[in-house]
Subunit: 373 residues, 2 copies
């Protein structure tokens, strides 16, 4: 049975990208790879909306988190970690592991961070060197208003470093690295980029580059400076994940053809469809609706339904693969990914299947929504 | 023109593996991936010749070097770095970057390390916690006698940590992790494993595991303990490079069918063929013949030939891609990779092309060898 992969990453691979993955291997120090990394960098700059080079690392998204921390900070540096879920906490944990003095501004899961409250938290930390932010929190299906957060923080602290986890937002949701004055922005190939996992991409601002020169945390593999120097020669310091670059090159070509704004609009449409179908079934969003994510929808598991039984039935009976909740949300929510290579029919099929399997598990939508469905 | 990719990694991908790379994406936390990582781990254990779990990280080989250093050592720890070329130096540099006290035992490039001399160097370091060794030095085409080195070191220092860079040797050349009592052994998918780059594999001994508990260097992404805990559930802590696991699963199946000893014998044969063809052309090995590598052959560029012109002509006229020298060997040597998916006809075609293009560049073999050719 063909799968409808509806987890928030890895995301489905378009056939054109899949074909590229299987291309014969090439020399990563030769002219062909240099041409590819040149095109890829230019494409990434377009989607990051930056004039800065965007670095690629063979890595998961969590490696990019570590790279961000070790390149711009020094032991003992104070940072404010704005956490709204599992991935915000992970970034904070990494900063702590590397000896930063981390103050957490923890927002209730399901909510977005409030710019005024973040600024208030920052006011209590006059020596803070940086703020760690999540653009889209994959664990709760919440998108922070990054532009408003960045603006509020920057107005108060013009020189502070803004580190942004954009793993599950970039290319799907508007993010303007230069205009919003963000310093380190990272994402992963397996999310909006329609490529298998294993390649992290990181943009660094002029302020970020200056910070890399002063930062004293030990680093080698993640060193942004080495990566930039190699990129100028059309290379990477260490062997790049060549097949993923083949795929990303093709994916970026498809994305440029569709257009950045059109992709953002498509993600809005599929997210709207997901949410309206869920509401029609009487299901409740986990996220506060005003900040519900356009790349992943978290839904509360209705009373009387066992979430593992539901995801298993969807997988085995319908070929629809969705995610459960993480950590303290295990069993509480299900998560439907709608980012990257996703269109309305994929979501319609997923929600049809969800409706059937919820019914099979004894769930009955409340009267009002039932009628709507 | 189809390429004959004869660099020492990335190496050519068999069609069966290429097809696997293009498979539809799956949930990395689901039962299908758990089955794959289970089979892959068992296959890796067979080739590492270890009963320990072998960990996979989305990473280049250099990331595995960093992982080895940060997991088993603490700042200020003394180590002996036995370096016989570029990659030995890189491992030493990483150890230094992370605050270890590194003493280098530098061997002239082209030579292998001598066990007695290594032990003598170690005798001068009574507090050394570890020895950093390269099994096969890709930059010089030299294979250390790892068994003899390990035996000599272990006889003198039963509890010292042996960290082994086996990136370009493992699966091609005999390496018995448990029998030789090695502690941290790492390799990369793009070498003998016939898979595109982006996945590093690391074996850790019981002594190595004990060291991870005491080590105090900051670590998160590379943490062996987190990786082992996830592996026990058929997962990885962070999103794995799923398509590369698809490929490795198929590659390991092919390798098991061919057989470990048969693969080692095949690498011996193709290396012998490479060397005998080179000798017949009057070309000189860069490596001392007794330790010439079975996975990469470094040849001195004959007088009067410009190495860049030669590699360019091979690439453009013949579709044969070989590597030049690195760092101080740039322009001095060419390197021919023969590891992974390689058979006699690939080498015969490569050496035929080399002979033609050397001739086109004005090279004439000395009389004796010319006759042989």
């Amino acid at each position: 049975m063909e799968q409808n992969l509806r987890i928030p990453g890895p995301t489905p691979i378009p056939p054109e990208v899949a074909a590229a993955l299987a291309r014969p291997m090439i020399n990563h120090r030769g002219p062909e790879f240099a041409a590819i990394i040149g095109r890829v960098t230019e494409g990434l700059q377009h989607f990051f909306q930056t004039s800065q080079p965007v670095l690629g690392f063979p890595s998961a998204g969590s490696g990019a988190m570590e790279a961000a921390v070790v390149n711009v900070f020094s032991p003992g540096d104070e940072v404010l970690a704005v956490t709204i879920g599992v991935f915000g906490n992970r970034l904070a944990k990494i900063a702590e592991a590397f000896g930063l003095k981390v103050t957490r501004h923890e927002v209730a899961w399901g909510q977005a961070a409030d710019p005024a409250q973040v600024v208030a938290a920052l006011d209590a930390l006059p020596n803070a060197k940086g703020v760690l932010l999540t653009h889209n929190e994959t664990s709760t299906g919440v998108t922070n208003d990054l532009q408003a957060l960045a603006q509020a923080i920057r107005a108060r602290r013009p020189d502070i470093l803004l580190v942004v986890d954009a793993v599950s937002s970039l290319s799907c949701v508007d993010l303007r690295m230069d205009e919003w004055d963000l310093d380190v922005v990272f994402t992963g190939a397996q999310k909006g980029w329609m490529v298998p996992p294993g390649l992290a991409m990181i943009g660094v601002s002029a302020r970020g580059w200056a910070a890399t020169e002063k930062a004293t945390l030990p680093r080698f593999y993640w060193d942004f400076r080495t990566a930039r120097k190699s990129l100028e020669k059309g290379q990477t310091p260490y062997t790049p994940p060549v097949s993923l670059y083949f795929g990303l090159d093709v994916a970026l070509g498809m994305m440029r053809a569709e257009g950045r704004e059109a992709i953002i609009a498509r993600h809005q449409r599929v997210a709207d469809l997901t949410r309206s179908r869920a509401r029609a079934m009487g299901l409740e969003l986990f996220a506060e609706p005003a900040h519900a994510s356009n790349t992943v929808t978290a839904l509360k598991v209705p009373a009387g339904v066992e979430s593992k039984a539901l995801t298993k039935a969807l997988r085995e009976q319908e070929g629809v693969v969705i995610a459960g909740g993480q950590e303290r949300l295990e069993g509480q929510i299900i998560r439907i990914g709608h980012l990257g290579y996703v269109h309305e029919p994929d979501i319609a099929a997923c929600m049809d299947a969800l409706e059937r399997q919820l019914g099979a598990l004894g769930y009955r939508a409340p009267a009002a929504s039932g009628a709507e469905a």
